[in-house]
Symmetry: C2
Subunit: 139 residues, 2 copies
């Protein structure tokens, strides 16, 4: 393994420890994957891509790790698709756009509109946009 990656892993260890998460090999690799593949992957996508590199990896670990990250506020669950959950390691305030032609999910780097309700206590919100992406338009 390259020194770069080792340093990378050391930094990730710190991040996980600060959140009270034991920095296991699998968790570090999943975190690293999310950091370097910013396409809002599903659990299955993470699994498929990492299992080539970690042959003993199980889907259960991927799911439980992604849910752990989300519950600790280190990742965001995106319900932009109907029947699968995507994950975003970038929990900063931004929106998402899904191309209905190619299926890709892009960041819209503006803060999400703030909506309040006179009756309910609104704690969070997600704005999902749909349409045709730049790449698909040009074809």
């Amino acid at each position: 393994m390259k020194r770069e990656n080792l340093v990378y892993s050391e930094e990730i260890k710190e991040i996980l420890l600060k959140k009270g998460i034991a920095p296991s090999f699998q968790r570090i690799k999943i975190y690293e994957y999310l950091i370097s593949h910013r396409v809002h992957p599903s659990a299955e996508r993470v699994y498929i891509d990492l299992v080539g590199f970690i042959p003993t990896l199980s889907r259960t670990t991927v799911h439980s790790t992604l849910n752990l990250f989300a519950d600790k506020g280190m990742a965001r669950r995106l319900f932009i698709d109907g029947n699968l959950v995507r994950f975003d390691i970038d929990s900063s305030d931004h929106m998402h756009f899904k191309c209905t032609k190619c299926g890709e999910v892009y960041d819209i780097l503006k803060s999400s509109p703030k909506v309040t309700s006179p009756e309910h206590k609104v704690l969070s919100g997600e704005m999902y946009l749909y349409g045709i992406c730049k790449k698909c338009k040009e074809e």
Copy 2:
């Protein structure tokens, strides 16, 4: 059947015909259900509630009918939950709020924020809000 319901069904027939949909008994009943149960039900919810009334009803019919309504612009698919699709017969411009305690999905009767993108062609958008509903707050 009460005369009221017959009139209701007649009106629904007109609505379906105008959209080019054959007004079968099942479709009319599913439409009627959506009109009179405005809680953004899932396909399973619609099926469970209607199968007592229409014993031969199949899940496939419910799914295909709801998808037909959505594709014809007569209903909206809501991805406010992670792994199930809810349907909303009200396709007017409004937002949705889900109570994370009781799970209920409420309407927020304001028009959804309009977001554009300099690169992508945005065709539609959905704003989902999460928090604690009025009822749960009061307990």
